[in-house]
């Protein structure tokens, strides 16, 4: 998609973005405001993708089916056994719903960044770097994941269904957590996406390595943590923080103590973790951009 992914912006750029206090008249004089450029980039992308209709439709459907595949796995597993490591189907679905909504939001926002290695290898990143716009934000609009919208909608529906089935009490605190937890999880997953994509700056042929933590992290958070063993659980749940995305918030919603002995308030710590992760990811990204050497191709 490299050809379609590089819609050249021919309009001249303003040397600085107009102040927010600029009057509409002033904005009309400078049509190529930063926002307008991003909008043009995004629109070109959407048009390019939608012009291959059959393929776009299949893509949209497949993305929902992908989520369906993970859901199917949970359902099939519970067809074999009524209880999985102490959790019933409804309870496990709540964990799954929180995890998949958080992940699909992050995937919608910054999921494209996993194409970084492609941009580095083909030299497209050089073109991105010389434009007077943010590098990360440009890469994000370069290949808009419009087709991922279906996944977010499905995720919301699934979480609502699971919360209902699992008998989550509609207290204000629970409702707040049902909103906060997916958002904090999305920021956290977004940070993981950006931080792992940065590997491509040093290691061009990193291939699917980042998938181990992005998609791997999603799969880890999709099940109650009681199923995982010893060091593996400690490393991912507490070492990397994946435990706070879905499992601990779900325990608060279900009003049950942690079978593996964590304190109850861990479920509210998601936003703190998300901010910390976003900070780390920003640092890693900045270091990466500074160390970028073109592949010369």
């Amino acid at each position: 998609m490299a050809e379609a992914a590089a819609p050249a912006v021919d309009e001249p750029h303003p040397s600085r973005p107009p102040d927010e206090t600029d009057l509409p008249a002033a904005a009309a004089e400078a049509p190529a405001s930063t926002f307008a450029i991003y909008r043009a980039l995004a629109r070109a992308q959407v048009r390019a993708q939608a012009s291959y209709r059959v393929s776009f439709a299949l893509d949209l459907v497949s993305n929902v089916v992908f989520l369906g595949a993970d859901l199917l796995t949970v359902l099939v597993v519970f067809q074999q056994v009524p209880v999985l490591a102490g959790f019933s189907l409804a309870e496990a679905l709540l964990v799954f719903g929180l995890s998949s909504l958080a992940f699909s939001l992050a995937d919608l926002a910054v999921g494209n960044i996993e194409r970084m290695k492609h941009y580095v290898r083909t030299g497209l990143l050089d073109a991105v770097l010389i434009r007077p716009l943010g590098v990360l934000s440009q890469l994000v609009v370069l290949d808009i994941g419009l087709r991922r919208l279906g996944r977010v909608a499905t995720g919301v529906a699934m979480l609502a269904f699971a919360a209902n089935r699992a008998g989550v009490q509609a207290t204000p605190a629970n409702l707040l957590l049902l909103v906060i937890a997916p958002l904090a999880g999305a920021v956290f997953f977004g940070a993981v996406f950006v931080a792992t994509a940065t590997v491509a700056f040093w290691w061009v042929e990193s291939g699917e390595l980042s998938a181990a933590l992005t998609y791997g992290g999603r799969d880890f958070t999709a099940y109650p943590m009681t199923i995982y063993g010893g060091w593996f659980r400690h490393l991912l749940a507490f070492g990397l923080g994946f435990g706070l995305v879905a499992y601990y918030p779900a325990l608060i919603l279900l009003d049950r103590p942690d079978p593996i002995g964590g304190p109850w308030w861990l479920g509210w710590c998601g936003p703190v973790l998300a901010l910390a992760a976003a900070g780390v990811a920003t640092l890693v990204w900045r270091t990466g951009v500074r160390h970028y050497r073109s592949t010369g191709s």
């Binding site: 393929s55 893509d59 595949a69 796995t73 099939v76 074999q80 390595l209 181990a212 063993g229």
Partner: protein
């Protein structure tokens, strides 16, 4: 812009020595090409191992819950499920489930024309290097996850000597089926140009219905039977894995191999037919 008529149907392979040399040369080329992607191989095995851990814990939880009820999950005990998961992660790279867009890319760019000028049938010209690639993957991407799984968990090893050669045959057949499937979804680009959607559809179906996410026999029996007989997907991973963990008696294993062989024959024939149709309508874009 011009019309390319099929040149590939011309019979150019005249004797056995020439065939053998062709297979050796193209196969070796595929092997060598992928052996240069060392970093990518390391990255892929790390990722496969990560998913190996994740899926193993899910399957062990299933086996544990089933054992507490005094049953077995669809006839697999815990060590069998561990072998199932890790060998499955290793086979992803051997059959190359996803990520092969060579043909689609060449159709988009128009480079596919040079494939038609070669004195080898295009299907064979892609198949032989792919087998070389699979041989390299067997040495690297298959062995590493097996070793990691064996170190971390209690694995099931085949008890009957005959299982090993049967597994080897099954892996070859799975690679053939997978190659043919990939070739066909790539060839959709002859008609659609942007084949991304078809490729994603293939990735979903081959993973879920192929037995990567969960053993197909976890499904109700009618659904499993329909998938085995009606679709090629279980032939990609499920069948070789069933053979390896000795889920069935020897006769059942042979039946599975026969099923795989049928799918390989059907799909490869479909590749040849599709390629012929495509050549009739191919209009090379650009200059």
């Amino acid at each position: 812009m011009g019309f390319i008529t099929a040149t590939a149907d011309r019979l150019t392979i005249r004797n056995f020595t020439e065939t053998a040399r062709l297979i050796r040369t193209l196969g070796a080329a595929g092997f060598r090409r992928f052996s240069t992607y060392r970093q990518a191989t390391v990255a892929a095995t790390v990722t496969n191992s990560m998913f190996g851990f994740l899926r193993t814990y899910v399957m062990l939880a299933v086996a544990g819950s089933a054992a507490a009820l005094g049953t077995q999950a669809a006839g697999y005990d815990a060590p069998r499920l561990v072998t199932y998961v890790w060998a499955g992660q290793g086979l992803i790279g051997v059959v190359l489930l996803w990520g092969w867009t060579d043909l689609a890319d060449r159709i988009r760019s128009g480079d596919v024309v040079t494939d038609l000028l070669r004195p080898v049938h295009p299907v064979l010209g892609y198949l032989l290097p792919d087998l070389g690639r699979a041989a390299y993957a067997l040495l690297t991407r298959f062995t590493v996850p097996i070793a990691v799984g064996a170190l971390a968990f209690d694995m099931y090893w085949p008890q009957r000597a005959a299982t090993y050669p049967m597994f080897a045959v099954s892996v070859v057949l799975a690679t053939l089926v997978c190659f043919a499937g990939r070739f066909l979804v790539n060839a959709a680009a002859y008609w659609l140009l942007d084949s991304r959607g078809v490729l994603v559809a293939w990735a979903v179906c081959s993973g879920v219905l192929g037995g990567l996410y969960f053993p197909i026999r976890f499904l109700p029996e009618w659904a499993a039977t329909a998938l085995y007989l009606g679709t090629p997907f279980p032939s990609l991973l499920q069948v070789p894995l069933d053979v390896l963990v000795e889920r069935d008696a020897a006769a059942g294993q042979l039946g599975l191999l026969a099923l795989q062989a049928c799918w390989a024959a059907v799909l490869l024939a479909a590749c040849v037919a599709v390629q012929r149709r495509a050549e009739r309508r191919l209009v090379v874009q650009g200059g």
